[in-house]
Amino acid sequence: MEFKRFKRTLRQVLLLPIVACLLLAGVLVWQISGANSTVGLIEDSDQRIALATLIEKLVVDEETGLRGYQTTSDPRFLAPFRDAEAPMQQAIDKLQSMARPEQQEDLKQFLAEHRIWRQVFAEPLIATIVGGGHADDLDLNLLGKSHMDSMRAHLDAIVAIATQGREGRVAHWRRQTRHLLFLLIGLALAIGLFVGLFTRGRLESAYAAFRHAIDLQRRRAEEIFQSEQHLRTTLSSIGDGVITCDAEARIQMMNPVAQKLTGWTESEALNRPLDQVFRIVNETTRMPVENPVAKVQRLKGIVTIGNHTTLLRKDGSEFSVDDSGAPIRNAAGQITGIVMVFRDITLQLKTRAALLANEKLAVAGRLAATIAHEIHNPLDSVANLLYLLQHEPKAEEAKQFIQMAQRELARVTQISRAMLSLYRESKAPVSVNLKETLDDLLLLMHRRFQILGVTVSAELPPDIVVEGFPAELRQVFTNLITNAAEAAGQGGAVTVRITPQTADTAASPALEAGAIVEIIDNGPGIPPENREHLFSPFFTTKGERGTGLGLWVSQGIIRKHAGSINLASRTDGPAHGATARVFLAAKPIIDPASE
């Protein structure tokens, strides 16, 4: 129920009883005014009775006065007779004005009798006495008495009628009062019932609306609860650690993985500053790494922390961690908190290291077959020459055979040395002569080029030296040259070229001193759909023969050497083929972290 409707109901509940009571009062007023008019009528009757009684008294006064005068002849006795005339006239006028029709006749006859009594009996009697005569004539007196009796009878009749009317009116008033009582009770019942029922109905509908609202609220609360449970379960089930902070970097929530990884329970960590709980340092320098929350607030976007970050747990143990932070924004777009996701990548780093080592071995493995061939062929020749020397006394030929054997042995030595240097690794960067390095590699791979039917031409100017890790650079070049030779295929050609680069700060982009090694093949080229995947791990076009790690590892090594590697390719026209281009700085700042 909307608030408006509820207000209307409230108004109705307030107004209806007032209206009903007003109605009741109206009916009461009407009824009471009816009763009042009856009372007025009763008063009229009373007044008529009073007037008639007054007239009767005045008549008695007149007669009494007259009798006294008659007896005593003293005019003082006549005063009541005289005094009664005026009030009587007044009372008669008044009674005449308000007498009912049935009383009018009696009143008229009374007046007539009274006039006659005065004119025919009283006045002559008085005149007689005044004249000194006697007024004790019986007949006269009897006449006067009969008139008087008649007058009284008429007045009595008036009183009787008035009394009768009064009684009827009183009875009517009583009936009215009784009716009023019944009406009052009936109306009160009806109005009470109506108001009660109406209020009840309204209250019921208000209650229903209230119940509905409560139910709705409860359902919503339930839904919100379910949704929150769902989110909580989701957060708990996530395999990564999740920490949320408020805008002041105080911890608000940690999922179980985050608790396990940091060694802090959620209740311990709650409201603590993030950098107390999530302590991260650089793996090698041990310097604190900028907390992702600070970084998020600074950059106002999603951030990741770099590689080689170590998380220090509460118990002092540590592990490599990978982390990202993202801002939590409110509807207005303001940052109200930060959510951080992190995971233990120790195993991942170890796997990666194992993968790199494996790839190194795979490169060696691919070369092993050709190396075996390169060593066994000269050894076979030497063995045969020794046999011939045993059975050949001719000095001329012996000398020739010994020379041949020496040459073959020198070849074995060269191969062996080149092979060993492939795996020899130094801890620190050393000077690498690129020509010597590439010559060695080409020697080792010579047999393979023969098998593949590839012609290799080298343009290797001497004395170009860069700083780096020779074994790693050999691995890169072995990968690139093998790729080129395999792409060129039977009858194909591969060119290996070194071009020195002199520093040029004016150029755009500025050129650094170093060397560019290009390995160019005239194979079919790299299809466009493969180009973007070239440096992705496990991407290979060689099926079972390839690990898909060669270029990925090569890129890592070149990045570590602060160099660059790219592949250009054409698949159409006579200039089809691919060119791998590696830039190596003469004095690079080696960054072990970028590997």
Partner: protein
């Protein structure tokens, strides 16, 4: 040893090794034909009455296994000795040759094995099982 005059075809892309092997076999009394790759080897094999073949495995273009298969198609009775610098060759390749040896075993081993391949009368050569007899 000079009484032997079997014609032996040597195929190897290693020029030095091939030259030395030729001298060795000629000193041992064989007549020797040499070829630097599989294709020219097959031509000589088809054109001459070759008694035995000493075949290198790893060669550009056609490898020893492919050459041996074609030779078997042309003259199945001619024994083939497969030489390789590799230690492990697939069985389907070694089964094509009558005998398989790795380079570097030495001249006496080569001469001995070649002699064993050629010593039985030519009629029984094709079914010879020389692996056991070679040592």
């Amino acid at each position: 040893m000079k009484n032997r005059s079997h014609l032996v075809l040597c195929v190897d892309d290693e020029a030095v090794g091939l030259g030395i092997r030729q001298i060795l076999l000629e000193r041992a009394g064989y007549r020797v034909l040499t070829a630097a790759d599989g294709a020219s080897g097959l031509e000589l094999f088809a054109a001459h009455p070759v008694d035995a073949v000493v075949l290198d495995y790893a060669m550009p273009g056609m490898h020893g296994g492919q050459v041996a298969r074609k030779m078997r198609q042309i003259k199945p009775e001619v024994p083939i000795l497969l030489l390789s610098a590799y230690l492990d060759l697939p069985a389907e390749v070694t089964s094509l040759a009558d005998l398989y040896m790795t380079k570097g075993e030495g001249a006496p081993a080569l001469l001995d094995k070649l002699g064993n391949l050629l010593s039985p009368p030519p009629a029984s050569q094709s079914s010879a099982r020389m692996n056991d007899a070679s040592d």
